[in-house]
C-alpha cells in the first residue's frame, strides 16, 4: 500500500518511513505543502499522513483544498498541538483521523490500516478472496486455512490485487504499490513476483489481461467467507 508522508522534520520522517515500511507500507516522503500537492496529483496514494506545521504553511489548508477539489484519499493528521479545539478543527477540516505527537508507531500503523479498511468499505480486518485470506495487520496469508509463506513484496502485490476487487491493475500501478520513488526497481521484478505467487497459490490466482495488466482470478474453493 502506498502512502504519502508529509513531514518536514527529517528524523521524524525517517522514523515513520522506516516504521511503516516494516508493516509493508510503501512510503514517499515530502517536506512541503507544494511538494505534497504535486505528489498527490501524480501518484494515486491510498492514504496520506499529513503533519500540520510545515515550512510553507499549515497542513490543514492543503487538506481543505484537497477536500474542496474532491480528493477523497484518507488523510491522517499529525500534530504537536493536543488542544481539543485543534483536533476538532483538524477533523472538521476533512481529516479522517488525528494523532498527537509523540505517537506510538504501532498505533499509527493500526490507524492507517483502519483508515484503508474503512475506505474499502470493509468491516472484517482480514481480506478474503475465495479460499484465500490475507491479514493485513499480521502480514500473513492462509489458503484453505493453511498458512502460506510469502515474501514481503509478494504479499504486498497480493494485497493490492485483493483490494482492487477484480479491477485490472496495470504493471505501473502494481509497481507503484510495491516501490517508493527512491527504490531501485529491476525490470523483471514484477514478473518474478507474479510467478512466485502463482507457484505458491495456484496458477489461477492472478489473471493476465493481455496488453492492459493483471487482475485477481475468479475465486476458487467453496467457502466464500
Amino acid at each position: 500500500m502506498r502512502v504519502l508522508l508529509v513531514e518536514d522534520d527529517a528524523p521524524v520522517a525517517a522514523g515513520v518511513e522506516t516504521g511503516l515500511a516494516l508493516s509493508d507500507f510503501v512510503v514517499d516522503t515530502v517536506t512541503t505543502l507544494v511538494a505534497a500537492r504535486g505528489a498527490l496529483a501524480t501518484i494515486d496514494y491510498e492514504a496520506v499522513v499529513l503533519d500540520r506545521r510545515l515550512p510553507d504553511g499549515d497542513g490543514l489548508t492543503l487538506l481543505q483544498e484537497w477536500r474542496r477539489s474532491g480528493v477523497a484519499t484518507p488523510v491522517l493528521m499529525l500534530t504537536a498541538r493536543d488542544a481539543v479545539a485543534s483536533r476538532i478543527e483538524g477533523l472538521q477540516g476533512g481529516a479522517d483521523d488525528y494523532l498527537v505527537k509523540p505517537f506510538d508507531l504501532d498505533e499509527l500503523t493500526a490507524r492507517l490500516q483502519a483508515l484503508l479498511r474503512r475506505a474499502a468499505g470493509q468491516v472484517d480486518s482480514s481480506l478474503r478472496h475465495g479460499n484465500l485470506a490475507l491479514d493485513p495487520v499480521a502480514r500473513s496469508v492462509t489458503l484453505d486455512g493453511v498458512p502460506v509463506a510469502l515474501g514481503r513484496r509478494e504479499l504486498m502485490l497480493l494485497e493490492a490485487l485483493i483490494r482492487a476487487r477484480g479491477r485490472i491493475l496495470s504493471a505501473d500501478q502494481l509497481k507503484d504499490c510495491l516501490y517508493s520513488i527512491d527504490d531501485e526497481i529491476e525490470s523483471n521484478a514484477l514478473n518474478v513476483q507474479i510467478y512466485q505467487l502463482r507457484r505458491k497459490l495456484g496458477r489461477n490466482v492472478i489473471e493476465t489481461v493481455r496488453g492492459i495488466g493483471y487482475r485477481l482470478g475468479a475465486p476458487s474453493g467453496d467457502t466464500p467467507s
Binding site: 522534520d9 527529517a10 528524523p11 521524524v12 522514523g15 522506516t18 506545521r53 505527537k101 509523540p102 504501532d106
Partner: protein, 435 residues
C-alpha cells in the same frame, strides 16, 4: 456599599437634617409669635372691657358700697374680673377664680387654678382694675392645630425630595449601571474592548484605560499561546523521533538497529539542547541581572571560552582592543551570549569565511560587533530574529539562541541590533555597559 446607596444616604441625611432644622426653627418662631399675638389679644380685650366700663353710666358704680356683683355668664376658656382699686370685685366671669385673678400689679403673669394653667393680664385703669385670663390649654391646642396643618405639606415635600433624589442619582449613575450590566453579561474569556460611545466624561478615561489593559492582555495571551504551541512543537517533535526510532530498533537487527539507535540518540541530544535553552531563557526572564553589582568580566577571556566551545577559533578575527574592555556582566552570561552568536555565525555564515569581531568602548558602553558573511536576510525576518522559536529557514538549532541573547543583553541594560546586506549575512551589534 454601592455608590448609589452611598450617594442617596449622604444626600438624603443632609436633606433631612436641613429640613429638620428649618422645621424646628419655624416651629419655635411660630410658638413665640403665636404667644405674642395671644398676649396682645388678651391685653386688647382687657382694654376693651375698660373702655366699655368707662362708657357705662357712673351710677352703675354707685352700687359699689351696696355689694352688688354682676356675674357674666362664663365662657369656658376665657375669664374676666373687674374690681375696684381697693380690691372689691365688681364683675367677673368665674367667681370661683376670684382669688386667682386678684392681682394688683399691671402686666402679664401665669396662674394655676384647678389643675389648669392660665395666662393672666391685669390692666389698672383710673379707678378700676381689670384682669383677663386665657386658658393655656386653649393656646396649646391652637398651636398644635397650626403645627398639624404645617406638618403634612412638610412631610410631603420631604418624601418628594427623597424620591427625586433617588431618581436623580439613579439616572445620573445609569451609565455606570449599564457598564456593570455589560461587564456582568460578558464571558470570562472575552477580552474585546468595551464600547466607549456615549460615556460621560468622568468614566471615559477609566474605560479607555481598561480597554488599553485588555488589549495588552490580549496581545500577551496571543504571545503566550504562540509560545506554548511553539514549545509543544519543539519538544514533541524530537520526542516523536526518539520514540519512533526506539520502536524500530526493537524490531530490527544489525545495521538498521544501529541506525535507529543513532537517530534516537540524536533526538535526545536535540531535546536536551532545546530544554536547556528553554530553561535558560525562563531563568533569564525571571531573574534580575542588576547592572554594576557584578564583578566586571574581561571581554577577551569570555571570547576565548566562547570560541573554544563553538570550535570557531580558527575563523574568528579580532583586534587587540578586545583585551582592554571589561563588561559589567557576569562571566557565565557573557560567555552564553557570545557562544550563541558565534554558534549562529558558524552555522549560518558562508562556510569557511572569517567571522569578524570588532569591539570599542565609549561613555561607559562597550560596543561588540560580530559579523559573518552570507546571504542577505530580509528586513521583516531581521525584525523577528529575537522571537522565541524563530528559526528562519534553518532547521538546525532550537530557535531560542537570539531570544536568549536579547534577554541577557536587555536585562544588563544594553541593546542588540541586527543588520544585513552587502555581503554581510548578519552583523550583530551588542551594546553593553562596560566597567
Amino acid at each position: 456599599m454601592s455608590l448609589r446607596l452611598r450617594l442617596v444616604a449622604t444626600l438624603g441625611m443632609t436633606l433631612m437634617l436641613l429640613w429638620g432644622i428649618t422645621a424646628a426653627w419655624s416651629m419655635r418662631d411660630l410658638s413665640n409669635q403665636l404667644e405674642h399675638a395671644m398676649d396682645q389679644r388678651l391685653a386688647q380685650s382687657a382694654r376693651m372691657v375698660a373702655n366699655l366700663l368707662d362708657r357705662a353710666p357712673a351710677a352703675a358704680w354707685n352700687g359699689e358700697e351696696g355689694g352688688v356683683t354682676s356675674t357674666i355668664p362664663a365662657l369656658e376658656n376665657v375669664a374676666c374680673r373687674v374690681s375696684s382699686l381697693r380690691g372689691k370685685m365688681v364683675a367677673g366671669t368665674h367667681p370661683e377664680m376670684n382669688d386667682v385673678l386678684a392681682i394688683d400689679a399691671e402686666g402679664y403673669s401665669y396662674r394655676n387654678h384647678a389643675g389648669q394653667r392660665w395666662r393672666v393680664y391685669t390692666l389698672v385703669d383710673d379707678d378700676k382694675r381689670i384682669t383677663v385670663a386665657d386658658r393655656l390649654r386653649e393656646r396649646e391646642s391652637l398651636l398644635a392645630q397650626v403645627r398639624r396643618a404645617a406638618f403634612y405639606p412638610f412631610l410631603l415635600a420631604l418624601i418628594g425630595s427623597l424620591i427625586a433624589l433617588w431618581w436623580g442619582v439613579t439616572r445620573g449613575l445609569s451609565p455606570l449601571s449599564k457598564l456593570q450590566r455589560q461587564l456582568n453579561s460578558r464571558d470570562h474569556d472575552d477580552l474585546s474592548a468595551l464600547p466607549v460611545r456615549r460615556l460621560p466624561g468622568e468614566i471615559r478615561p477609566l474605560i479607555d484605560g481598561f480597554n488599553t489593559l485588555l488589549a495588552r492582555t490580549r496581545r500577551m495571551l496571543e504571545l503566550e499561546q504562540r509560545f506554548t504551541d511553539d514549545a509543544a512543537h519543539e519538544l514533541r517533535t524530537p520526542l516523536t523521533a526518539i520514540r519512533t526510532h526506539l520502536q524500530i530498533a526493537r524490531r530490527v537487527e544489525g545495521n538498521p538497529h544501529r541506525e535507529a539507535m543513532r537517530q534516537a540518540e540524536a533526538g535526545v541530544r536535540r531535546l536536551t539542547q532545546t530544554l536547556d535553552q528553554l530553561l535558560l531563557l525562563a531563568r533569564m526572564e525571571s531573574e534580575e541581572i542588576t547592572r554594576g553589582s557584578l564583578d566586571p568580566t574581561p571581554l577577551e577571556e569570555a571570547l576565548e571560552t566562547a570560541m573554544t566551545e563553538t570550535g570557531s577559533r580558527d575563523r574568528c578575527r579580532y583586534n587587540e582592543r578586545v583585551s582592554r574592555i571589561h563588561i559589567a556582566l557576569s562571566g557565565s552570561l557573557l560567555v552564553i551570549t557570545l557562544r550563541n552568536l558565534l554558534g549562529n555565525a558558524v552555522r549560518h555564515g558562508l562556510p569557511g569565511a572569517p567571522i569578524e569581531i570588532e569591539a570599542q568602548e565609549s561613555n561607559g558602553m562597550a560596543v561588540i560587533n560580530i559579523i559573518n558573511q552570507g546571504e542577505t536576510i530580509q528586513p521583516e525576518q531581521l525584525a523577528r530574529l529575537t522571537e522565541r522559536f524563530q528559526r528562519g529557514n534553518h532547521p538546525q538549532g532550537s530557535g531560542l539562541g537570539l531570544s536568549i541573547v536579547d534577554a541577557i543583553v536587555t536585562r544588563a541594560g544594553g541593546r542588540v541590533t541586527f543588520t544585513s546586506g552587502n555581503g554581510i549575512g548578519l552583523r550583530v551589534s551588542l551594546q553593553l555597559p562596560s566597567s
